[in-house]
Amino acid sequence: MSQASDSTTAVAPKRDAISWQRLRALITKETRQLLRDRSNLMVGVFLPVILILIFGYGLSFDVKNVAIAVVSEDTSPTAQDVLAGFYLSPYFVVTRSSSMHEARQLMLKRKVDAVVHLQADFSRRLAAGDAAVQVLVNGVDANRARVLQSFAQGAIAQWSIKQVAAGQLPTSVPPVSLQTRLWYNEANNSTYFLVPGLIVLVMTLNGALLTSLVMAREWERGTLEALFVTPVTTNEIVIAKLVPYFGVGLVGLAMCLLAGKFLFEVPIRGSLLLIILTSMLYLLVSLSLGLLISAATKNQFLASQLALILSFLPALMLSGFIFDLNSVPFVVRAISRVLPATYFVEALQTLFLAGDVWRLLIKDCAILCVHAVLFLGLTRLNTRKVLM
């Protein structure tokens, strides 16, 4: 009894003082509310599982099994020899086509992505030392088309190497050749960079989307005003909203990390502790962005649209996770530099694949801290105990 009267009297002079008892009660209430609605757990737990499966088994930037059509108007053994490179290549699935007309039709119907064409005078010109293999690609998917062209180059190089080995061709060493090494990912496996990106998306979704909706709902229904007439302080309301969703976010993080390590065997070259701490920091940023959106809009429709526009889409498109940021115009780069996801992507990709690069990590984490403080402060300003 005396405790209760203590806390009520304490409200007047020190409005921002946090009472642990009230906070605990609020957190219990929020947690129950979260667990009761199954749709929350769908997003918190089920969606990460789906995303893990999609990222691990579905998405791939590794081009393979390209359907191509081969048209050879030259029936000589030499021409067949050159084409063998295409038949044997692990990247191509070859269909023979009797005429260019037929091959063009296949391309129009999207049955094949490229047409390899040897003209009737191919072997004669090859003997003369100047022959060309025509490779027509469908350029609609430009990235794929470019990779395809390089595979074709590889198939032809195979032939040249064999000819040189058999003494049919003079050894010709190019003046300069290139030796490329892809650091951190020698296996050239795109899953390695997709898994860190997966964590970014899951943390963003959990944080911004869930919280923005929940809080906006309370504003819209007026239940927050009901809370305002109780002794709880604004800080307590904000913290109590954050804690349960933070928990859900950690569950998502744990699932992603376990899947990354054991299912997809992505190397973790930095320290696991740092990965977890950085992710927690980003989760906090993302949760507070969600709270800010809901406090600013106070409307579920607007909050959901804004959460999509401000958190999820930029995290996918502008964070450097998929598309390189060096090549975008200045204004777009400036915008991406404001987004928290950009720094989290950089930090996570580094921690997973490169290791503990302290100077980069300290920079990234410091900027994320600024985001957290800024978003929480703005939320605090927008969540004043006033009746509307």
């Binding site: 609609v140 032809i156 490329t180 598309f323 490169a354």
Partner: protein, 372 residues
């Protein structure tokens, strides 16, 4: 019949007013789509316009200088650092100061002249394999050119066989050209799906849906009245992106607008069908939103927007067959870039009709049979 039509028109008007009366809603439906098509239009490309690189020239010879000059004049590379020993390479890449380190070996000039061939080492940052590979391939192109000009000056045997490559529909192989037409479908779907998903759920939450059900409006009429405004807004959003693609980015439009809009109409109807069914299924706006997101993410990722469907394993490829966005992106790209007509696009159109034919009646059924 006339009465039905009248009731539907009235409901459509009411829905449009409900969506558009709030100035903030109007803003959120039309401004972001414009900004996004600009932003993502610039960002969503796999082409690199600027590759920051660090140079480690251990040879300092005339040939090495020629080689480096060719790199610098290629227009894509920007030299950010000049290294003096190999020990510095690790730090430069680790800290992301440069995407590439190009190492010209100490015997570069000597080996070219002796005919033994010099080997230039390129180390690229593989944290994003896609970017790392592309950047390295660009250096490869410079090396090709260098070799060619070297042979012209000093003689030498060129390989007897070469590739004569040509790309259809997108001669310069710009990835932006296929990205932006896919955004025409993808961006509008996001917002339209949320809009539709909230429409019934909002009325359920506020208790006005029961009132609507006891009016003379039949469930099918309610469905049409709810679907049409969302479809209109979706097509309007697509048009905004289309205008940006054509006039801001100047990507030539090859096909017929009629075909494109027919495709967009089918696609938007199919996604509105999904949204309405979800909405009718949900008890509250929050549920509707969250279910929508659970669907949206896989739909976006498995649509061929960011990575092509043919790279996926077979099982996943089958899964994409129920994804309306997959068909819409293919249609938008093919009409826009290839100028494809309905005769080749019907394969993308009938699945959309099928999806709409399943989801819209399900929504009607759920209106009646799911009382929450």
């Amino acid at each position: 019949m006339n009465a039905t039509l009248h009731r539907i028109v009235v409901l459509i008007r009411k829905e449009l007013i409900a969506i558009l009366k709030d100035p903030r809603s109007r803003l959120v439906l039309f401004l972001p789509i414009f900004m996004q098509s600009l932003l993502f239009g610039y960002a969503a490309t796999y082409d690199l316009d600027e590759v920051p690189y660090a140079l480690l020239d251990s040879d300092h010879s005339g040939a090495a200088k020629d080689f480096v000059a060719q790199i610098d004049s290629a227009g894509v590379f920007r030299r950010v650092l000049q290294l003096s020993n190999a020990g510095e390479i690790g730090d430069v890449i680790d800290r992301k100061q440069a995407l590439l380190v190009i190492h010209v070996p100490p015997d570069f000039e000597r080996r070219i002249f002796s005919g033994g061939g010099a080997v230039v080492q390129v180390i690229s940052d593989g944290r994003n394999t896609n970017t790392g590979n592309t950047a390295a391939a660009y250096v490869g192109a410079v090396v090709e050119r260098f070799n060619e000009s070297w042979r012209e000056l000093h003689g030498g045997v060129a390989a007897p066989l070469r590739i004569e490559g040509r790309a259809w529909y997108n001669t310069n192989l710009e990835t932006r050209w296929n990205m932006i037409p896919s955004l025409v479908a993808a961006l509008s779907m996001l917002q339209v799906l949320i809009l539709t998903a909230l429409s019934v759920a909002r009325e359920r939450e506020q208790g006005t849906f029961d009132q609507l059900m006891v009016t003379p409006l039949r469930p099918t009429e309610i469905m049409i009245g709810k679907a049409v405004p969302s479809i209109l807004i979706g097509i309007l959003q697509s048009s905004i992106i289309l205008l940006v693609a054509r006039f801001w980015f100047g990507i030539p439009f090859q096909g017929s607008l009629l075909t494109l809009y027919l495709g967009l109409l089918l696609f938007t109807t199919a996604s509105v069908g999904i949204g309405l069914a979800l909405s009718a299924f949900s008890a509250s706006m929050q549920q509707a939103m969250l279910y929508t997101f659970v669907l949206l993410m896989p739909m976006m990722l498995l649509s061929g927007l960011t990575s092509s469907i043919s790279n996926m394993p077979k099982a996943m490829q089958y899964l994409t067959l129920v994804n309306p966005l997959r068909y819409a992106i293919e249609m938008a790209q093919r009409v826009y870039l290839e100028g494809a007509g309905i005769d080749v696009l019907y394969n993308d159109m009938w699945p959309l009709i099928l999806i709409a034919a399943v989801t819209l009646p399900s929504a009607v059924w759920l209106f009646r049979n799911r009382l929450v």
